[in-house]
Structures are given as structure tokens and as C-alpha cells.
């Protein structure tokens, strides 16, 4: 088993599925000869040729719409949007078409595509390269929103996303692309979608997070353990449809919940989980739910990034607030 990074795990999953299923095609800006600006598609064009690994014109709405047309025609397109900040023009296609094709034809047509988008802050990138649009996509009926937090999770969830018969927006945390390595078995085994994963067991407080914030939450849990606090960290992994039951079960055990996202606060996905807990988990709660989020400001340019992104310290502070309650 090899130790690989998250971006290498994405690459490995793409190779595995292209090898297994001739209907899988990869398309996007610079995904072919260049191997993708993050090298997620490295080596694919050499192995599978330019007809299946497609360098598209520079047009994100086209890429998404094209993937829809391909999917309806029986291919399994995996489209890359170079950065999620360029992905806002895809929203028309995702909302109005990808998420509706099966319903509006009552099952006659379907749209099995994956829209990969590198996202999140923390890599000192220019404007529009640090966005966290997960809540916007999670609001859309008929699609799935998946957000891996580690190499192993990226490999297994991407396989699952490609094999899923419905459209999946697959958000990849750029900050974790090369931050650490993990052993990943290239065994073609997909991880389940629509399920939260327990990243660390604990008994005093539940910390729910996704993407890069899982990593930050695990770091906070390590520090809290040294102070005698046992934090359970949940990797939400599939935001839509949300596995609220696993979160409820964890909170039933711990009685406290902190939800972490680097997206802006208002209408963030943390708000959706908090609402679910208020509706269905109120009697388990020993303290008010805490959200640790980005601020309701424009994601700052690199110099102020560290002031914006939730970090270990803010997560620990929120956990302590729940412990101090009452």
C-alpha cells in the first residue's frame, strides 16, 4: 500500500474508474496535456487518449452543460471546474438541468455526472480561488454534494460518486491536496455516500466538520484530549443528502455539538445541521449548539486569510463554551 496525498488519491480513483468503465470520460480546462492545474488528472491523457481526457475551451457553463449532455447520452463524465470560484456560472446548469433531468422525465433520462471542484481557502491563492460554495449546492434538489477530508476518503468517495447514477458535486479541499499522506489501497472499493463517517470517537462533545475543517477539528481534538476533554469528530462527507441520524446519535451520546465550516456564516451548511439538531435533538443537548464558521465577509486575500479561517483555537474555544454552559 502506498502513502499518497489527497490529490494523488483523486488521480488514482480517476485512473481506476477509467480503466474499469469505458464510459467514463474526464473533461475540463487543462485536464489533458497539462494534467490539471493541481495535477489531479496527471497521466490520464497518456493512458486513455485525448478523446476520453478532454481539454475543453475555457467555458465553465459549457463544461457543465456538456457533461449533462454526455451523461444523458450514456457516458459517465467527470468534469473539472478549475476552482470553485469559477463554478458560479455552472449553477444554472446544475440547478436547472443536472438536478432535474431524471425527475422532469419521470425516470426516462438520467444524469450520472461528477462535477469536481477544488475549493476552500488556505493556499494563499488569488481572489476567487478560496471559495466555499457547498451550501449553495447543498440547497439544490436532485443532486449530491460530497466533500472528502483525507486521501482515503477522497479515493473511496470519488469512486462512489462516479458510480452513482445521479449527479454529484464533488468538492476537493485544495488545502489538503498535499498537506499530508495516507495509506490508500487501490482496491476499487467505494465508500458509502449519504453517510457521515466517524473520524475520531469521543464522549464529551461532537465536532461535525467536512473538507479541510475535519483536519482542523482533529487537531483541536488532539489538543482537547491533553486537557482531558474527549471530542468525537464526525466527517460529514456527504452534505446532501445529509445523514443527520449519525449526528443525532453522536450528540445523544455527547450532549454537545460544535459545527465547523470555513464558509461564510449566514445560511452556511452549519446552520442546516444546527437546525436539524434543534428540531430533532433538542432533548439530547446539554448546551446550545455552537457554529464555528468563516465570517460574513468576502474571503480575504492571502494576507488576512489566517484571520478568516476557523482554526484549532476557535474550535477549542467553542468546545469549551459548550462545556462551560450551565
Amino acid at each position: 500500500m502506498a502513502q499518497i496525498t489527497l490529490v494523488e488519491a483523486v488521480n488514482l480513483a480517476l485512473k481506476r474508474e477509467m480503466e474499469r468503465d469505458p464510459a467514463v470520460v474526464v473533461l475540463g480546462e487543462d485536464v489533458g496535456v497539462d494534467g490539471g492545474v493541481f495535477r489531479a488528472t496527471l497521466g490520464l491523457i497518456e493512458r486513455y487518449g485525448p478523446e476520453r481526457v478532454i481539454d475543453t475551451p475555457l467555458a465553465e457553463a459549457l463544461i457543465t452543460g456538456m457533461a449533462i449532455g454526455m451523461a444523458v447520452e450514456g457516458l459517465k463524465p467527470v468534469a473539472e471546474i478549475q476552482f470553485s470560484g469559477f463554478g458560479y456560472t455552472t449553477i444554472d446548469q446544475v440547478v436547472n438541468h443536472a438536478g432535474r433531468m431524471r425527475h422532469r422525465t419521470q425516470g426516462r433520462l438520467s444524469c450520472p455526472l461528477v462535477l469536481r471542484m477544488p475549493c476552500g481557502a488556505g493556499i494563499h491563492a488569488p481572489e476567487h480561488h478560496s471559495e466555499s460554495p457547498e451550501a449553495m449546492f447543498a440547497h439544490v434538489p436532485g443532486i449530491r454534494v460530497v466533500y472528502p477530508s483525507s486521501p482515503r476518503r477522497a479515493y473511496g468517495l470519488l469512486l462512489a460518486a462516479i458510480r452513482d447514477p445521479d449527479p454529484v458535486v464533488f468538492l476537493e479541499p485544495t488545502r489538503l491536496y498535499r498537506l499530508f499522506k495516507e495509506e490508500v489501497a487501490d482496491d476499487g472499493e467505494a465508500l458509502p455516500l449519504d453517510a457521515c463517517h466517524t473520524a475520531r470517537e469521543g464522549s464529551d462533545v461532537t465536532v461535525a466538520a467536512w473538507g479541510a475543517m475535519v483536519h482542523e477539528s482533529l487537531a483541536a481534538a488532539d489538543a482537547l484530549a491533553e486537557q482531558g476533554v474527549s471530542a468525537e469528530v464526525l466527517d460529514v462527507a456527504t452534505l446532501k443528502p445529509l445523514d443527520l441520524d449519525t449526528i443525532l446519535a453522536s450528540v445523544a451520546k455527547t450532549g454537545r455539538c460544535v459545527i465547523v465550516t470555513e464558509a461564510a456564516r449566514t445560511c452556511s451548511f452549519a446552520s442546516e445541521i444546527a437546525a436539524g439538531l434543534a428540531e430533532e435533538g433538542l432533548l439530547s443537548l446539554l448546551a446550545p449548539v455552537q457554529r464555528v464558521t468563516g465570517y460574513d465577509v468576502v474571503v480575504p486575500l492571502p494576507r488576512l486569510e489566517r484571520h478568516y479561517m476557523p482554526d484549532k483555537g476557535r474550535i477549542i474555544a467553542a468546545v469549551k463554551k459548550t462545556l462551560a454552559f450551565g
Binding site: 457553463a61 449532455g69 425527475h103 433520462l109
Partner: protein, 354 residues
């Protein structure tokens, strides 16, 4: 300075508004009986259209987008296509859908607000009606890419309106189709109006066809009230697509004789004289004049056809009205291949059995 490129836009008309043959008839038009078959479709479309409007005015279907005046465009496009081709449409191509095997009842169901109207038994691979303007042009590129990748002798036909040519989606799609030389035909109906905005205010371009030149693809302008010209242009474009020659954009000049939809009142923005002028170019009258002069049509045939068409639409409307309404289940049943666990509760709530 020197000239690095020069372009021209061809225009095709075979039957003039008086029904005179003004250019060589293509082979398919040599036998009048084949034109009679097209004429029958055009008359059925008009009967369907009138019935749909009547159903809307009496509250039996919802907002309806009439295809009045578009009968030659619809018929010419559909008659050139093969069953295995894929059609991507707007809301004004019910005529093409009919000819490709969608039933009148299914069309009424669609406009009656029932998703089952898009689950038709006929052309199973055709896309659903695309209401967002030009978004489906990108779908056509993807579908055509799939056909080319699999080396299939098929083509995607994407119907668009003049309004669509103002959108980025349109430019992105024709550009990519040209770059990859894809088997796709952009069948552009220029009916002169994007709801209330006339063609002259939409673009300074002399023709809409010429937008294809920027994308490096073949294009031409045809008289969209001349079914022979539309059919011939489509035949050539589909032949080019299937033989690896790449995409074509056909600008079909016609006129929206109706309001934009039944929710619109075109008298607010359109000069009635202009509409009266447009009626003189009625595509149905034009073909009938030609067929009558050729001895292939007469009043008895016309009367019988009208009776038959009216009976067909009447029966279909009744079948639609007799269809049990959908239940709330329909909102959930095909949202995903399998309804995610989290939605079971919402489904139960919607069905009132939670």
C-alpha cells in the same frame, strides 16, 4: 492593410410566398405525394395549437407557448431527422416532437402541468423541453461528443430561437462544437421576437447565421416559411454531421404569429400591420397553393384532412382530461434513482401519512 478573411452568408428559398418554385427542387420534393405528407403534419400542428389555446383559455391546461407560424420550421426539421438522432428543444417545437412520436395526449399532459408528459414512449432518447434559453445548446454539444466518441452515425439537433443567440451559452456551445467538429445541427428559428424585443434590438449583426462564422462552423439562412427549403438545408446539415463534416447553424426566418405564450399580450408591443404582413407569408397557405397548382391537392382533400386533424386533437384532449391526476408521489419518485433515506420522511409528510 490586407484582408485576412472574407465571408458570405447564403440564403435559400425554394418556394416563394405565392407558392412559386424559385430555385431547383431538391430530389425529395420531386414527388408531390411526399410534400403532401409534410403538409398533413403542418395542418395537424395548427389544429393542435388551436386546441391547446382553447384548452388554456378554458382553464384546462396551463400557460402554453403557441407554435403558430412555425409549422414549416417544425416540419422541415423533424422530417429530415432519423429516429436515432437526438432532438434538443425549446418550448416551441411541439410539432417536431409530434413527428418524432410524442403523442398529442403527452403534449397536452406536459402543458397541463404533469411531468408524465415528458416521459413519452416515442423518442426515448430525446431531451426534455428546455425552458431556460440556450442552456441545452451545451447539452447538444455533450450528446454529439458522445456520438462521435462512439463512432455512431447519428447527430444531435438543437432547436434554438433568435433570443438564444444573445446568450453566452449559445456562443460557448457553437464554439466548442466547431472546435471538435461535432455532429450537431443548430436549428435556429428566427421568429423576429424575443417576447417583446424585436430582432433589430437584439443584435447589430446583419444576420444571426453569421454568428456561426465566428465559431468556424458552416451556416446559412433559409426561408423558414418554406418547408422545402428548411428540409433541404436540414438534409445537407445532417449529412455533413454524419459524415464527419462537423456542425451547421441554420437560421430559419419566420414570424411568431401568436403571442409569446398565452400569458402574453403582444398587442402591447407589436404593430398589427406587421402581423398582418406576416400572415401573407403563412407557411401552410404557401405549400397548399403549390400542391393545388401541382394537382396534388384539392378542397375535398383539405376538408377531409381538417376533419381528421380536429378529430385527432379532440380525442387526445379528451384522453388528457380523462387521465387521473398525478399524486404527490410524483415529486419524489424520480428525483434520484433511489430516494435517499433523509427524503423518506418528507415524502411521507407530502403524502399525508407521516
Amino acid at each position: 492593410m490586407s484582408v485576412v478573411a472574407r465571408f458570405e452568408i447564403r440564403y435559400l428559398q425554394i418556394l416563394d410566398p405565392q407558392g412559386n418554385v424559385v430555385a431547383p427542387l431538391p430530389e425529395f420534393a420531386h414527388a408531390p405525394q411526399r410534400l403532401v405528407a409534410l403538409y398533413r403534419w403542418m395542418v395537424l400542428m395548427r389544429a393542435y395549437d388551436a386546441k391547446a389555446i382553447a384548452l388554456q383559455r378554458t382553464g384546462q391546461i396551463n400557460t402554453f407557448a403557441s407554435l403558430l407560424g412555425h409549422e414549416a420550421v417544425n416540419t422541415g426539421v423533424a422530417s429530415a431527422m432519423d429516429k436515432d438522432d437526438v432532438f434538443l428543444m425549446t418550448y416551441r417545437e411541439n410539432g417536431v416532437q409530434l413527428m418524432r412520436g410524442v403523442t398529442l395526449k403527452e403534449l397536452f399532459l406536459y402543458w397541463g402541468g404533469d411531468e408524465r408528459g415528458s416521459d413519452y414512449a416515442g423518442p426515448r432518447g430525446d431531451f426534455a423541453i428546455c425552458i431556460t434559453i440556450a442552456a441545452h445548446a451545451a447539452h447538444a454539444v455533450g450528446a454529439a461528443y458522445a456520438m462521435k466518441l462512439r463512432r455512431e452515425p447519428r447527430a444531435a439537433v438543437c432547436a434554438l430561437g433568435d433570443g438564444a443567440t444573445s446568450k453566452g451559452d449559445f456562443y460557448e456551445a457553437i464554439n466548442a462544437a466547431g472546435a471538435w467538429k461535432l455532429p450537431v445541427v443548430f436549428a435556429l428559428t428566427n421568429n423576429q421576437w424575443a417576447i417583446s424585443v424585436p430582432r433589430a434590438k437584439q443584435s447589430a449583426a446583419q444576420t444571426l447565421a453569421q454568428k456561426a462564422i465566428a465559431a468556424g462552423i458552416e451556416c446559412l439562412q433559409v426561408d423558414g416559411n418554406d418547408v422545402i427549403a428548411v428540409r433541404h438545408a436540414m438534409d445537407e446539415a445532417l449529412e455533413r454531421a454524419r459524415s464527419g463534416g462537423g456542425p451547421t447553424l441554420i437560421e430559419m426566418l419566420t414570424y411568431r404569429l401568436s403571442d409569446h405564450t398565452t400569458a402574453d399580450d403582444a398587442t402591447r408591443y407589436r404593430n398589427p400591420d406587421e402581423v398582418a404582413e406576416a400572415w401573407k407569408r403563412d407557411p401552410i397557405v404557401r405549400l397548399r397553393t403549390y400542391l393545388t397548382a401541382a394537382g396534388a391537392w384539392n378542397k375535398a382533400a383539405e376538408d377531409a384532412l381538417l376533419k381528421d386533424c380536429n378529430e385527432q386533437v379532440q380525442a387526445a384532449a379528451q384522453a388528457y382530461l380523462d387521465t387521473p391526476p398525478p399524486t404527490a408521489k410524483q415529486m419524489f419518485d424520480h428525483l434520484y434513482a433511489q430516494l435517499p433515506a433523509v427524503l423518506h420522511k418528507q415524502r411521507a409528510a407530502a403524502l399525508g401519512d407521516d
